[in-house]
Amino acid sequence: MARRIVLVLLTLWLVSLGVFAVSELLPGDVAIFILGQQATPETLAVLRAQLGLNVPAPERYVEWLFGFIRGDWGKSLALQVPITDLVLSRMANSFVLAGIAFIITVPLSIGAGLLAALRQGRLTDRLISLIGISGLAIPEFVSGVVLILLFSLTLRIAPASAQIPTGASPLSVLPALILPAFTLALTLFAYISRMTRASAVEVLSSDYVRAAFLKGLPTSKVITRHVLRNALLPTITVIGAQIGWLVGGLVVVEHLFGYPGLGDLLLFAALNKDIPLLEACVMVVASVYMLANLGTELLFGVLNPRIRYA
């Protein structure tokens, strides 16, 4: 366990170094972003000095790193506000949105995957496959726009904007979260339902399931006790991996619906070369990703005692 944590920390450090190096290599800096066309050599010089951009890059990185470790994430260069509060509040918003998407998707897709496996080759199976493959093939920025067109602009039953009133909790705009959560759910549904179906089909054709049926167990018992328990193992891995995928989806969906989450902030930081803000966002995302993977592995061990880690 200790070894794993050291590895996680090492990975995080490498990620932070990579992000910093890549941002440094790209042309332009945040001073140019802030001033834009208004930039004159004098104002650029003053602003760079005010933002501390005159310091050599390695020195800035070391200063940032030690600050970050101490919990002082610094000030956003473009927005001029403390990063810690900003990132944590945005992360909380993203968790709410992602959580709703998961609550919608996980039971629905596992149920659908199982149903498809039981009705293998029949119309229900084909239909579920079709929905799943469409969800995989259509990127969020297309499905999101289609959902907005249909439900917000034509039917006018769901808000197109997921903006949160300043200072309010994201739960206060719950109806506004339906469309973004559903957009995320479409992609998630595809992965999880197809994985559930595949492993359920495999389990259903196994000897022990046949034996369970033959010894006269009712179908519901066979499914809950034998099929589900075994078919869920690979599915859980997929769900864990989806948490990483979800961040990518969040960037698109949050941007599209104007939802103030971490993905939207990440994109803003990257586009504007706000390196301290970008680093903080990436660190949070990378930590979430690695914790999700770690959690998946541990859960895997609980469900399958044969592969427990030392």
């Binding site: 140019i32 001033l35 066309q37 004098e42 300043t166």
Partner: protein
């Protein structure tokens, strides 16, 4: 009172000066609104046929509520929802983006405000008087105005605000716009009088009090807008969430009688204009602060929405470095300019009502000092001949960088590229992000750049076409032009100004340091329930006399 005002009044009475020009020039030189009205009432000269638009209204006495555009009686109440782009800098002295402008403007007042008609109108100043040489301007300040925290507004606040703007170490781009205003030239005469001693003559000075960084803040302001938003303006900021938006309530103690009508404002920040458009279409917002040109059709089609469009002096320019081959030969630049059908270009890029045509000079017809120079027509034969004479009978190839930060700009660059093709000239379009483009836009051989609207010809010409200035991306230098520009800023005589403007505009149109095919209009998409919104060439945020109908 400036001595020229007597001549101006005589010229107006005898019909030598049109009503529109008279109002704008008399207001600039400090003739009060009642005095202007009195002159207008005392004679009814022949209507000026040359006037490109309807005559502007005389400046309203600032203590009266401006008449709203709607016919209905204004109703009090309601919160207006506005969407805008990210505010990267919200210190009012250091604003650089529209997001920052709309975040701070509801709270602020200026010494003077330039109306959509181009008339500088007293705001926190009640009057101003230039010296005979227009190098010293004395402003009388309004009495009894209070900041949002209840502290009184006075000369110290004006002096402090302008000293911060003029001081290079503040890091405000206003310091270069106001490069004729030395920090120690700002003098408090008494509690309600401030004098500006300029380092050179500037006949347009009142217009410069409405540059967007010049909102008046208290002398003791902390410097942090997010935690201490303050001003004398019609609204008080009640919350600000970085990157998300801000909210405002009516300033109950506001000094303009009966204003504002709205209870409050709710501004939401979107990173992407398509999200803003959706919010507007679905009724989640009442106005898009910056409406993209390509969204106007969708907005006009929606029965609940309207487009408010204002002529402006914003424009797009393709500069060509006159010190770099092949553009060092003026014939090459002239040839490219002749390849364009300017009306077609406007129709394609912005739509037929998207702006006014321009003949490679940036002083738009909407500006007070604009004079007409011959409009260039497409002439491929002539263009080919010029190219041959310049030694490029078969054309040439070059890189044309532009950026993706302004959605129409790439389309304009594409139409240029198409127009050059019949000459054998191949422009390789390089679309960069705006951050990358603005690292090198003043050094690249050619580049396509968008320019925001400004209130005076002098500011436009000084910022980008004078020899050696930062934004002179064509590296163009014309001593006669520079001399005429110096004289323009020092000249109050209208007929002399007209001659100078002709020299300036013709120099640009003839030598073509930059291709400029139009002045853009400034459109805004808003809900039909929004009434009383004034036209605004700059697309700032003036909601003083706006009200909502249900």
């Amino acid at each position: 009172m400036h001595e020229y005002l007597g001549h101006l009044t005589d010229d107006y009475r005898s019909g030598r000066v049109g009503r529109r020009t008279f109002i704008r020039w008399a207001a600039t030189l400090g003739l009060s609104a009642p005095a202007i009205s009195a002159v207008l009432a005392s004679c009814a000269p022949a209507p000026s046929a040359a006037s490109p638009t309807s005559a502007p209204a005389p400046p309203a006495a600032a203590t009266q509520a401006p008449a709203p555009a709607g016919t209905a009686q204004p109703v009090k109440g309601g919160t207006m929802r506005v969407t805008g782009s990210p505010a990267v800098e919200i210190n009012p002295h250091k604003l650089t983006s529209n997001g920052g402008i709309i975040t701070t403007f509801p709270c602020l007042n200026f010494l003077a405000r330039v109306s959509a008609d181009g008339v500088p109108q007293p705001e926190l100043a009640t009057s101003w008087t230039p010296s005979a040489d227009v190098k010293t301007w004395t402003f009388k300040l309004r009495q009894g105005v209070k900041f949002h925290d209840g502290s009184p507004f006075g000369a110290d606040d004006v002096v402090a605000t302008y000293k911060r703007l003029a001081d290079k170490s503040t890091g405000s781009t206003a310091a270069s716009t106001l490069n004729f205003l030395p920090p120690d030239g700002i003098e408090k005469i008494d509690d309600s009088t401030v004098a500006f001693h300029l380092s050179r003559a500037q006949a347009d000075f009142p217009y410069y009090t409405y540059i967007y960084q010049a909102g008046i803040l208290p002398a003791n302001w902390s410097g942090d807008w997010a935690t201490s938003p303050i001003g004398t303006g019609p609204f008080k900021m009640t919350s600000y969430t970085s990157g998300q938006g801000s909210t405002y309530v009516r300033n109950e103690a506001y000094w303009e009688n009966g204003l504002p009508y709205l209870d409050g404002i709710d501004i939401k920040i979107w990173q992407d204009p398509s999200g803003e458009l959706t919010a507007l279409q679905s009724g989640a917002s009442d106005m898009m602060a910056l409406t993209p040109y390509d969204a106007l059709d969708d907005i006009r089609k929606n029965p609940n929405l309207q487009v408010l469009s204002s002529r402006s002096a914003s424009y797009d320019a393709m500069h060509m470095r006159v010190d770099t081959a092949p553009f060092d030969n003026p014939k090459v630049r002239q040839a490219l300019a002749l390849s364009l059908n300017r009306q077609d270009v406007l129709n394609i890029v912005l739509g037929p009502d998207g702006g006014d045509l321009a003949s490679d000079q940036p002083v738009a017809p909407v500006l007070r000092d604009h004079v007409d120079v011959a409009m260039k027509n497409q002439d491929i034969a002539m263009a080919k001949q010029l190219l041959s004479e310049a030694g490029h009978p078969n054309g040439f190839e070059f890189d044309l960088p532009t950026h993706s930060g302004a959605e129409w700009l790439k389309n304009w660059a594409l139409t240029l590229q198409q127009a050059f093709a019949p000459l054998g000239v191949k422009a390789n379009l390089v679309v960069e992000t705006s951050q990358v483009y603005y690292t090198h836009w003043t050094t690249v051989t050619t580049g396509v750049t968008e320019w925001a609207s400004r209130s005076t010809a002098s500011e436009i010409l000084n910022s980008a076409y004078r020899t050696g200035v930062n934004w002179n991306s064509a590296h163009w230098s014309n001593p006669a032009f520079d001399t005429a520009l110096d004289q323009l800023d020092a000249t109050v005589d209208l007929s002399k100004r007209k001659e100078l403007m002709l020299t300036l505009e013709k120099a640009l149109s003839d030598e073509v340091p930059a291709i400029i095919t139009y002045a853009r209009s400034s459109p805004r998409g808003l809900s039909k329930r929004v009434q009383g919104m004034s036209q605004d060439p700059n697309r700032y945020l003036d909601l003083r006399s706006v009200y909502l109908t249900s």
